[in-house]
């Protein structure tokens, strides 16, 4: 299903002739100060359809959704819901009107239990406003079972869950309410194939019940596999709406970016085998790893080494232990053949390592600070003398790197928070490139990044490896790893479960390794 070429419209369009739309928008506009986020969007949603909303980063998808659920108010345009004017002023209004949303950003309560998170909107009550914990746990249990998280204890605090499980908890929460319309803003960005598939089953079931679903994703293959219709947003305008069956990937992409996209995604590269070993791990064990043997592998200059694995297989932890973001429990690390023991990220950075983290907002960027300040954050020594900042040099460096990575921005003095997701991700990359690293660790480098920017990032990464950098890429998107990597290691439960050479790349092989452990241990 990852292959867009073969994907067709898997779900037939609703039978019968014209159905009354449940939701209808026309000419919706929204500005944030000087930024035009929406500039005339028209959109209609029919009951029982799954309607994809696609567009580049910053096209206005999330803004549109925020208007629909009452977080922000539109400046112009009309919206009708079930034929009546609809003008929500609070998220509560939207919920009363039967609209449920899974937002792009996490909206969880980390110290509360999974059950409380799931039922947070409407906790079951007893007399005197007391929480009916029994019902609460039952409901949460059912909700989790329904999305396939049967083994997560509902009393456990959400803070103890990994990123994917958190996303699933959010989805479970949105499914709690009886809704007419379910909006999912990039729900699959943090999920791996298996959870995604499960989600699609749920969507199909809802659809059968007549619920209308709005589905936002940067993965067009997903759009083709579950959606009935698609609307493309570009620069805040709706530029096309079509039945899925009547459109193609190329057509969508062309409409999204407003031009033909080079076939960057598919380009293969020459296998590089000549480089010296840049990094060598022997039995490196993250504190969260249950296995004393840890992880061992070599990474060569000029090589792109992919790391695949299921959610929670310990890939993020592996990168963190290399970078000394978390200190490894045991094992050794060699850099250019020399043994190293970094005691903090600073030493790893000095040693030529960069780390693009998986969560750019929490760990990668300083959102309130200027683009330039973010770009130079890890290389302030380069733009300063005797501790004094050279702002001109800083701006120059930021502009230069911005050009190299094709960053779309207004001014390097603007806060990085004003950029779209994909461009924010590029700033994170620029931050490390500014330091001329020899090794780059990348954790989900294209999460939430649109197709256009993704292609650009791929090209960029290839370019880096051709310049001799050693790249270690963790990704949950197998096509991404397959496109980029020279070699793929598959992790399972904090161990290397297998290695796949480029000539043997196939999703099936990789998944086989990924699931190996579970098969052997055979739960259920």
């Amino acid at each position: 299903m990852e292959n867009t070429e073969t994907a067709g419209a898997s779900a037939p369009a609703p039978a019968g002739a014209v159905v009354e739309p449940v939701l209808e928008l026309s000419g919706v506009k929204k500005r944030f100060g000087g930024v035009v986020a929406l500039n005339g969007v028209s959109f209609s949603l029919r009951p029982g359809e799954v309607h994809a909303l696609v567009g580049e980063n910053g096209a206005g998808k999330s803004t549109l959704i925020k208007i629909l659920c009452g977080i922000i108010q539109r400046d112009a345009g009309s919206i009708t819901l079930g034929g009546e004017a609809y003008d929500p002023h609070t998220p509560g209004d939207a919920k009363k009107a039967g609209i449920q949303v899974v937002h792009q950003e996490f909206n969880l309560l980390p110290y509360l239990s999974v059950a409380e998170n799931i039922c947070f909107e409407d906790m079951p009550r007893k007399a005197f406003g007391m929480v009916d914990f029994r019902t609460l746990y039952e409901k949460a249990r059912k909700a989790l079972d329904a999305i396939g998280l049967g083994d997560v204890d509902v009393r456990r605090p959400v803070e103890s869950l990994g990123v994917a499980h958190r996303q699933l908890v959010e989805i479970a929460r949105a499914l709690m309410g009886e809704s007419r319309i379910l909006i999912l803003d990039e729900p699959t960005a943090t999920l791996t194939a298996r959870e995604t598939e499960r989600l699609f089953q749920i969507i199909a079931a809802l659809k059968a019940k007549g619920v209308a679903v709005v589905f936002v994703s940067h993965h067009l293959n997903e759009v083709f596999s579950i959606c009935d219709r698609v609307t493309v947003l570009r620069n805040g305008e709706s530029v096309m709406t079509a039945d899925i069956a009547a459109t193609t990937t190329d057509q969508l992409v062309t409409n999204m970016v407003g031009r033909q996209l080079a076939a960057a995604m598919a380009a293969s590269r020459d296998l590089d085998t000549g480089g010296r070993t840049a990094l060598s791990l022997r039995n490196l064990r993250h504190p969260a790893s249950p296995h004393a043997e840890g992880v061992s592998f070599d990474l060569r200059y000029g090589e792109i080494l992919g790391i695949a694995g299921l959610v929670g297989s310990g890939r993020t932890e592996l990168l963190r232990s290399i970078f000394a973001a978390d200190l490894p429990l045991s094992g050794t690390l060699e850099r250019d053949g020399q043994p190293r023991r970094y005691s903090n990220p600073k030493q790893a950075i000095r040693d030529g390592i960069g780390f693009v983290t998986e969560d750019r907002k929490e760990e990668g960027l300083i959102l309130d600070m200027a683009i330039a300040a973010n770009v130079t954050l890890a290389s302030l020594r380069k733009v300063s003398r005797l501790g004094l900042l050279n702002k001109r040099e800083e701006t120059r460096l930021a502009q230069q790197l911005g050009g190299e990575i094709k960053l779309k921005y207004g001014n390097t003095a603007d806060p990085v928070s004003t950029l779209s997701g994909g461009n924010q991700q590029k700033v994170v990359l620029a931050k490390w490139l500014a330091n001329n690293p020899k090794i780059l660790l990348l954790d989900e480098p294209t999460r939430g990044v649109d197709v256009g920017a993704k292609a650009e990032i791929y090209a960029l990464l290839r370019g880096l490896s051709e310049k001799g950098l050693a790249l270690l890429i963790v990704s949950s998107e197998l096509p991404e790893l397959i496109t980029l990597s020279d070699r793929i290691l598959v992790m399972s439960k904090h161990r290397i479960a297998g290695e796949v050479a480029r000539e043997d790349f196939s999703e099936e092989r990789i998944l086989n390794f990924a699931y190996k452990d579970e098969r052997n241990h055979g739960h259920h």
Binding site: N107, L109, G150, D151, V152, D153, R156
Partner: protein, 333 residues
């Protein structure tokens, strides 16, 4: 095989750990309290029943204020005005209680009501201003701290109010098997606070707001209402605290309560509630208030100089929180 097995093993073991952790959260502070008691028990008189009565009496007012402060801190706020507002509530109640011609019972009843109403008034003010304009409550309550103190002075023209009904004065020193009645009232308030925070929807939403305000708002909760409510609850407790103060000391004056806010905040934080909100409990606050009370009492009994006492108090406050950190690490490992 199902998609759910991914974290089976860790999840199972983690659950137990989680429960233990929750229990230990309070237990850790309890251990610090017990350690302190053991140290002081070598001091003569410390464990005598009359001294236990003393300690409990001395803990009472701080405890009552700390319960309210817990609500405010849980939603990520802070209330610096509690000491001044206590004073304002007391002089209002004192004025009512000494109105000529009132039947004592009626006077006490009306005074109690008016103290609570005054507390609610300032609680509302704090909550409304900080929630409406999204201003840090630190600065809002620094403002109302001054307003309440000035108002208390203005109302009384700086004089002390006394001569309350005899029954009311007697009530303040009453004990029940050596436990001061006022402390029992405070314990009931702890129980109510615990119940509200852990068992009611209202309480869970409060925690939720402290965890992630935006998420709570997106879930359709009226964050504004809850914030105002937390400050108002704090105001109610300040009002009750004022009546307890009057019952204990038989005066009401515009200069009482100076610095009470820091004591209350210290009790809450030592009790393990996070200053950034979302985590903590009233039971922890109870233990925190007891640590402060035991410390003050024990150091006087030890016969240390006032200056040494102040220094040691500082050390122990820090030490209690450091110990709590080690306990936290232990339970994590």
């Amino acid at each position: 095989m199902d998609t759910t097995d991914l974290t089976t093993a860790p999840a199972g073991s983690k659950t137990i750990a989680t429960t233990t952790k929750t229990v230990l959260r309070e237990a850790g502070i309890g251990i610090a309290l017990i350690a302190l008691i053991i140290v002081f028990s070598f001091t003569p008189h410390f464990l005598s029943s009359s001294n236990v009565t003393n300690i409990l009496t001395q803990v009472t007012i701080n405890l009552v204020l700390s319960i309210g402060m817990t609500f405010v801190i849980l939603i990520g706020g802070i209330d610096l005005s509690v000491g001044s507002v206590l004073s304002f509530c007391a002089v209002v109640a004192g004025t009512v209680m000494t109105l000529p011609g009132l039947d004592p019972a009626v006077a006490v009843f009306l005074a109690t009501i008016s103290a609570i109403v005054a507390g609610i008034g300032f609680g509302l003010l704090n909550g409304l201003i900080s929630a409406w304009w999204a201003i840090p409550s630190f600065i809002v309550t620094l403002g109302t701290l001054n307003i309440a103190r000035g108002a208390a002075l203005q109302v009384t023209n700086a004089s002390t109010i006394y001569s309350f009904p005899a029954a009311f004065n007697a009530f303040g020193s009453q004990t029940f098997y050596g436990i001061p009645l006022l402390f029992l009232i405070a314990l009931v308030l702890v129980a109510i606070g615990w119940f509200v925070l852990t068992k009611t929807v209202f309480g869970r939403v409060l925690y939720g707001i402290g965890n992630n305000e935006e998420a709570a708002r997106l879930a359709g909760h009226n964050v504004f209402f809850y914030k105002v409510a937390a400050f108002t609850i704090c105001g109610v407790l300040v009002g009750i605290g004022a009546i307890i103060y009057m019952a204990r000391l038989n005066i009401a004056s515009p200069i009482i309560g100076i610095g009470f806010e820091l004591n209350a905040i210290a009790a809450v934080i030592i009790g393990g509630t996070s200053l950034s909100g979302g985590r903590g409990s009233v039971v922890g606050t109870l233990l925190g208030a007891c640590i402060i009370g035991v410390l003050a009492n024990g150091l006087i009994l030890l016969g240390l100089s006032d200056f040494m006492r102040q220094m040691i108090t500082g050390f122990v406050i820090i030490l209690a929180v450091i110990l709590d950190k080690y306990r936290e690490r232990l339970t994590k490992a």
